[in-house]
């Protein structure tokens, strides 16, 4: 008996959050992630959780701040323009060290743009749009199973790190269905054990009953704020070393190496098979963590390679990081679609061939 179930991406990610221990969800509807609030609204109450449809994305992120500060395990989701509205809150969550898992099912922009898939929020996700010095680990699944596993893991990682964790999916992954194996439900952090599991949380008492806890992002004294920022960056430095994840396929002897993440990476995998049938060796570097970015993966590329390509659904946002990884060792070119157009495998293969010809390859 196959234990896998056929699920839509948005519903699979939602179920993974619940099984990961999420009991608080706040959101505001936006395509292409509307199945998430719908799913949460009928499934969370069944396990004693709480669903609130916020009046806006800004309200949703601050509801997450409140519930997270009180020790709850929180999941918020939106899509590109909605994530843009949440940016202020992400900076506050980082400053106050409030755990939250946030998923974007990104669509195409700029502006209200369109509702088809896009990856042009790469810089928004990895560099952030909030104020001040802060970092948020970002993970990008290429299929629903990886998305389920990442959301499930992020629920715990966010608590460990006391920082938001960002999952970057796109409209293709949110809307598509494929079989997934769901993880076992985790034990839930409940009001009776918050004080032992999260001694910093706002429960009305301090950990040792002597003074009340404070969770805040305002620090009026420069010395104190500098110390706080330095403390945050010790945490980020550690995360930067420990959270790097990527998949590399056939990089060492490749004529051309394609870097791609998320749904474009799985399309690129088929393009690589098409190229292999024409005796062109193409390798793949698939960043799973977008921050921290797997720059070191590009060190595996050998002198046999003629060119490195960034394939993405944006005007070349990830290419900036690809160039940082390549460090001028190879020319870097872009294969992209935008506006909600999804590249096909044959298109990536043909454009790769053309680039290879132009850069002195076959």
């Amino acid at each position: 008996m196959n234990k896998k179930v056929l699920m839509k991406g948005n519903e699979a990610f939602s179920e993974a959050a619940i099984r990961g221990g999420c009991r608080y969800y706040f959101g505001y509807p936006i395509t292409p992630q509307n199945e998430i609030p719908e799913y949460m609204s009928h499934q969370l109450p069944k396990v004693g959780g709480h669903f609130i449809q916020a009046e806006s994305e800004l309200a949703a992120v601050y509801m997450a701040y409140g519930a997270g500060a009180a020790g709850g395990r929180v999941f918020i989701t939106s899509s590109s323009p909605g994530i843009a509205l949440m940016q202020e809150g992400f900076s506050f969550l980082c400053s106050a060290e409030v755990p939250t898992v946030c998923l974007t099912v990104s669509r195409c922009g700029p502006g209200i743009g369109g509702i088809q898939p896009g990856q042009a929020d790469y810089l928004q996700a990895t560099r952030g749009g909030g104020n001040g010095d802060y970092k948020i680990p970002v993970f990008a699944p290429e299929n629903l199973q990886e998305g389920v596993d990442l959301v499930y893991e992020a629920m715990e990682l966010s608590d460990e790190l006391r920082n938001p964790i960002f999952i970057f999916a796109d409209g293709l992954l949110g809307q598509m269905m494929e079989p997934v194996l769901l993880p076992e439900s985790r034990e839930v952090i409940c009001p009776s054990n918050i004080r032992t599991q999260k001694p910093w949380a706002l429960t009305g008492y301090g950990a040792d009953d002597s003074q009340r806890n404070r969770v805040l992002s305002l620090r009026m004294y420069p010395e104190e704020l500098e110390q706080h920022v330095e403390k945050l960056f010790k945490k980020y430095d550690k995360a930067e070393k420990e959270l790097v994840r990527y998949e590399a396929i056939g990089v060492e002897d490749a004529d051309v190496v394609i870097a791609a993440f998320g749904s474009v990476a799985r399309i690129a995998k088929e393009a690589i098979e098409i190229l292999a049938a024409q005796n062109i060796k193409a390798g793949l570097i698939r960043p799973i963590s977008l921050w921290p970015y797997p720059y070191e993966a590009f060190d595996m590329i050998t002198d046999k390679t003629k060119v490195v390509i960034s394939a993405e659904m944006s005007m070349g946002q990830m290419m900036q990081d690809v160039k940082l990884g390549v460090r001028d060792r190879f020319p870097v070119r872009l294969i992209n679609r935008t506006g909600g157009m999804i590249p096909t495998s044959i298109e990536i293969a043909e454009r790769t061939k053309k680039i290879l010809e132009e850069t002195g390859g076959q």
Binding site: L6, T31, M176, I342
Partner: protein, 176 residues
């Protein structure tokens, strides 16, 4: 069978996405890999609707396709749009109740199924998709009719035996 790529296409309200989902669920019963990607956008009842389905023995990389092994067209515009995607030797299912023009290709296998008329004869215009799904399952090697029957049974049992029986009857109605 290695990998089968297909489009189910028609208009909103015909149960097009349901057909794709049932095919994927049947594949799951057979321990096959599958992906389903619906067109989503300003769709509405009466507008266009289609989904891309891949069913394979091995891991599926791209869920987006540029050519197909099989097209199920429930309306004329969907035939016009997806017939050109068929590989030579591909299979085209046509709902001839609503498609009155002939397909252009001569290098493909065509099944003409008056699905909407049969559905009306059976007294429920909404089951044209299940009639077509039966034709699809029996005339391709993609999923077995038995798996599709099981999926339909499990999907409709909550609505009562009568609904299950109607759907199973529809599934097995058209013998070509």
């Amino acid at each position: 069978m290695a990998i089968n790529k297909m489009f189910f296409a028609g208009s909103g309200g015909q149960g097009i996405l349901m057909m794709g989902q049932i095919a994927c669920s049947a594949a799951l019963i057979e321990n096959k890999e599958s992906t389903f990607f619906p067109s989503y956008g300003p769709e509405m009842r009466g507008g266009t609707a289609n989904c891309t389905v891949i069913i394979s023995d091995k891991t599926i990389s791209s869920p987006v396709i540029f050519e197909s092994d099989c097209v199920v067209a429930m309306t004329a515009p969907s035939m016009v749009k997806f017939e050109p995607t068929l590989k030579p030797g591909g299979i085209l299912f046509l709902n001839t109740s609503l498609i009155h023009q002939a397909p252009k290709r001569s290098d493909i296998t065509i099944y003409e199924v008056p699905a909407s008329e049969i559905a009306n004869e059976m007294g429920n215009s909404r089951i044209a998709n299940v009639i077509m799904l039966g034709a699809f399952a029996r005339n391709t090697d993609i999923v077995t009719p038995e798996s599709v029957e099981k999926v339909i049974h499990d999907a409709f049992i909550a609505k009562g035996e009568k609904i299950v029986d109607l759907n199973l009857k529809a599934l097995n109605y058209w013998k070509g």
